[in-house]
Amino acid sequence: MGFFLETLLGGLMTGMLYSLVALGFVLIFKASGVFNFAQGAMVLFAALAMARFAEWIPAWTGISHPVLANGLAFVIAGAIMFGVAWLVERLVLRHLVNQEAATLLMATLGITYFLEGVGQTLFGSNIYKIDVGMPKDPVIAFESTFQGGILINKEDLIAALIAAALVALLSVFFQKTSTGRALRAVADDHQAAQSIGIPLNRIWVVVWCVAGVVALVAGMIWGSKLGVQFSLSTVALRALPVVILGGLTSVPGAIIGGLIIGVGEKLSEVYIGPLVGGGIEIWFAYVLALAFLLVRPQGLFGEKIIDRV
């Protein structure tokens, strides 16, 4: 029982990390109808920027305080992500308005290649570390309830808390601020939003910026967990089932989907994996998402698909 709960908790925490990446997909899809494959590359790019500036700032300016250096690096990486968002809107999206979904998808794949190339040219392609002072030692909880207690990774716990905080922050931003209202209006109907004077182009920049910051936070957490390296961009592929399970247009969907996928992945790996040779977690997540899609083709929380002839 203790082991089961431990796996379950581990799955929930990994799930929160997946939702963090999935959130980036959902934000951009909601506001511009673009399925942004480049989210993974953005995570890599942001993490690389963060890791390298955290290394460079003490060397250049002599600021040796780790919190200050990391904070500065975070701000600079955030600014770089703003730049990326602005360039993407200016150079790519603006010219591809009203194109088919497949064309837009391919354009973001092009952006993926580009960002991967630029990121590694600018920041190097070795494995870097992000050290934001996450505690690495596990703690043991519920020792009195179960024999041996449950092993909880403190790092995962903090990461999950950060993810939850970010989601709460984003919901407030979407619900309460005027920019958030404009974003929701654009998501509902591009034309109607434009006709009441919401500047589409600026909204797109804003939403790509927000997605960039989400990517930065995801990159920071994943990076401090796994190290910043090229394989970080494949995190996006792990997060895709989360997005379709939760629904492409739903922020809560990304969270719930992330939790379901995280738990499903861990439990399947532990309980089914040994029977078939292991390593099943990647495709199991997709098959799980597919099973949900067969019942609800628009994902758990997606907008209902209505066909008109």
């Binding site: 150079l91 290649y113 991967e116 040779g277 998402a289 698909i305 008109r308």
Partner: protein, 358 residues
């Protein structure tokens, strides 16, 4: 005025039903076949064959398969790499497990394995659509990656799933030299491409296009969505499977599951979109573009850099390649979102009137 159909009257049902109704098209096709089968083998160097021509022919075949599914039936698929892998490993198993199995039937049986796999993973398309389907087809990709790495039966218990074939021959002729490999692939491509060209203008091809344009409306006028979608998956994955088997047997010789990773799926989709959705010709344009571009960049970048006095490391070159590849694709999608095939048809339209502007 060189290219126009004026004066070419159709006087019988036979001539009305021709695949290529315009005389100039037929002449051009024969000329292309002549060049591909006779002139190219006579002049191309060994490097040309191995680096460009053989990959181009095989990738053209795979892109053709993807185009049937994505371009004609409108089902976006990111699992093409998996279909190629199933074709390759299917053909491998048939080829090695059945003693005395000839090469061509082995390839076709590999294609049939891919068909079965494609129909299985095409089933979600009956419920799920658009981008949701695109992501769902990734399930096929990751499942195939895992299957050929972990289930040892498929790879004859070789570690890490890397296998190889040797001693290929067709009707007693060895397929060893680059020219023979090229001609063999080209012959298969020519037969399948002609079949596909014929198929997409038949009743079933029109059903696919109706489903692509609007599946509810198609269902209303009496097209069975299940039959149309699954047949598109079947035909497309068969062609992709044969291409995968060729890629493995003829081009690679020895391969492992990573040869058919998700990157391959993306590349195939690039080919189709850059070449032009819903165009047989476009598949070849796209395949050529995607096959030649990295080679060109690889050759061109170091010399261009040394011209301006910078030496870039090998890693630098590969990063720059990624960058330029990505940027070119985005640029291409912006200037010609309908693909190279659109340029081709615009060109033909212009030729109709040439030398007059109107």
């Amino acid at each position: 005025m060189l290219y126009r159909e004026n004066g070419q009257f159709k006087t019988s049902y036979r001539s009305d039903l021709q695949i290529f109704p315009i005389l100039q098209d037929r002449v051009a096709l024969l000329a292309i076949l002549l060049v591909a089968f006779v002139v190219v083998p006579a002049v191309a160097s060994d490097y040309m064959f191995r680096a460009i021509l053989i990959p181009f022919v095989i990738m053209g075949l795979a892109a053709l398969g993807v185009n049937i599914l994505v371009g004609y039936c409108g089902q976006i698929s990111l699992g093409s790499g998996a279909f190629m892998a199933v074709g390759a490993y299917g053909a491998y198993n048939v080829f090695l497990r059945i003693p005395g199995m000839p090469l061509v039937p082995a390839l076709l049986l590999g294609g049939l394995c891919a068909t079965a796999f494609g129909i299985l993973f095409g089933l979600p398309s009956l419920r799920v659509r658009g981008l949701y389907l695109a992501v769902a087809t990734l399930a096929a990709q990751f499942f195939a990656d895992w299957m050929f790495l972990r289930i040892k039966w498929f790879t004859m218990d070789t570690p890490s799933g890397s296998v190889s074939v040797s001693n290929l021959q067709v009707f007693g002729l060895p397929i060893e030299s680059a020219t023979a490999k090229y001609l063999f692939c080209l012959a298969i491509l020519a037969v399948i491409a002609l079949g596909a060209k014929n198929l997409v203008r038949s009743a079933i091809g029109r059903e696919w296009m109706a489903i692509r344009d609007m599946d509810v409306a198609a269902a209303v006028i009496g097209i069975r969505p299940m039959y149309a979608k699954l047949s598109a998956f079947a035909v497309s994955s068969f062609i992709i499977g044969v291409a995968g088997a060729l890629w493995a047997f003829v081009y690679l010789g020895a391969w492992e599951p990573a040869a058919f990773s998700v990157d391959m799926s993306f590349r195939l989709l690039f080919m189709v979109i850059i070449g032009g959705l819903g165009s047989i010709m476009g598949s070849f344009f796209g395949a050529f573009f995607i096959v030649v571009l990295p080679i060109f960049l690889n050759q061109f970048l170091p010399s261009a850099a040394s011209l301006v006095g910078i030496t870039i490391s090998t890693a630098g070159v590969s990063h720059a390649e990624l960058m330029i590849f990505g940027a070119l694709i985005v640029w291409f999608l912006i200037v010609e979102p309908h693909g190279l095939a659109k340029l081709w048809s615009t060109g033909k339209q212009k030729l109709r009137l040439w030398p007059f502007p109107h």
